[in-house]
Symmetry: D2
Subunit: 118 residues, 4 copies
Amino acid sequence: MRVNLLKELIIKIRAFAQKRDWDKFHSPKNLAMALSVEVAEVVEHFQWLTAEESNSLPADKIKRVKEEIGDVMIYLTRLADRLGIDPVQAAEDKMRINEKKYPVDKAKGNALKYTDLG
Amino acid sequence: MRVNLLKELIIKIRAFAQKRDWDKFHSPKNLAMALSVEVAEVVEHFQWLTAEESNSLPADKIKRVKEEIGDVMIYLTRLADRLGIDPVQAAEDKMRINEKKYPVDKAKGNALKYTDLG
Amino acid sequence: MRVNLLKELIIKIRAFAQKRDWDKFHSPKNLAMALSVEVAEVVEHFQWLTAEESNSLPADKIKRVKEEIGDVMIYLTRLADRLGIDPVQAAEDKMRINEKKYPVDKAKGNALKYTDLG
Amino acid sequence: MRVNLLKELIIKIRAFAQKRDWDKFHSPKNLAMALSVEVAEVVEHFQWLTAEESNSLPADKIKRVKEEIGDVMIYLTRLADRLGIDPVQAAEDKMRINEKKYPVDKAKGNALKYTDLG
């Protein structure tokens, strides 16, 4: 049986916002902004690290990044909920599109944007 | 039974990256950057809209936003996977922290940051 | 006489970084990340405001936004300097491109992206 | 004599927006969003590069990055103008604050945030 774990999270977030009378702030426009702010808090942890350092973060740093990833997930889930979008379904559908945009034989080993693939 | 639907998505993304020999590009540092770029593609759809307009998007716009949300979910899932973090668990843990940072009686009806709550 | 005021700023930023032995952190890649983080600190001030509220910020909020705009300007200037780009010249050149991408008769009164202009 | 070159740019941007009847879209809130979107277009050029690669971009890439930096400068200038802020002055004032937040003896050679400096 396929259970959508995110459903429980969505319900918690809805209750959280409702109790605080925050629905009025949570237009998709505002939530998109908040999402970008939370992502920047993830980025901040990595900005001065080398790629190698980012591959082996110490435990206390992982803990802090985990909190920021939690916030990103919360706002992403909330935004999707407000738009009637299932974010996991959206990701699975997009994976199928990406399979076509980035065919293995052309994309292998390079990081070109699909518009720059030969 | 609690099934993590994201698990299937993670496995698909891993296979997608491996087939294209993209693991070498997918350091947490680079993935955090890519995540921020994808979020900006969500934001772009909302930048000139009023809050009201963002609350009632036409169907074709929803379809385009859904694709961008799919991309955000893909990179968020991939980043979390690379760091050994479960993003749904991270969100649930963060919700508990937010409950304390934003007590209902102080946060109700306002959008102050927790550091500015009286 | 045309004097580039930014030149003085660039020189100060260079000295600031050099004294702290930070040149090694200031690759264009890292500076682009830092720029995005600073911009998010601007965005944060506006995320829950209405458009109207954002048009008439109280003085203490202007003061805080000004600091964040200062940081954005610093990183933008530093990034451009590292790439040998004059940011004011880049803006003027881009204005000329934008004049063509958004002809007055087609763009007037709407906020469509140039790729969506009829 | 100290001439603010940005002043000319500001005047051009104002005329550009006015001719297209875009002032109504250019609330500080919306401009902050647009600024974040433009910065992501800079970031996109760097997301899969190594730090070393970002230090020696080929000429055609520099050209494309320059256009994006132009857009960032345009929106930053426009946002600041809407708020009555001089962005170069804001940067110079912020440099003075940063001098204190990051004293040379504590900040030298490390990239710790000021809140994490010992």
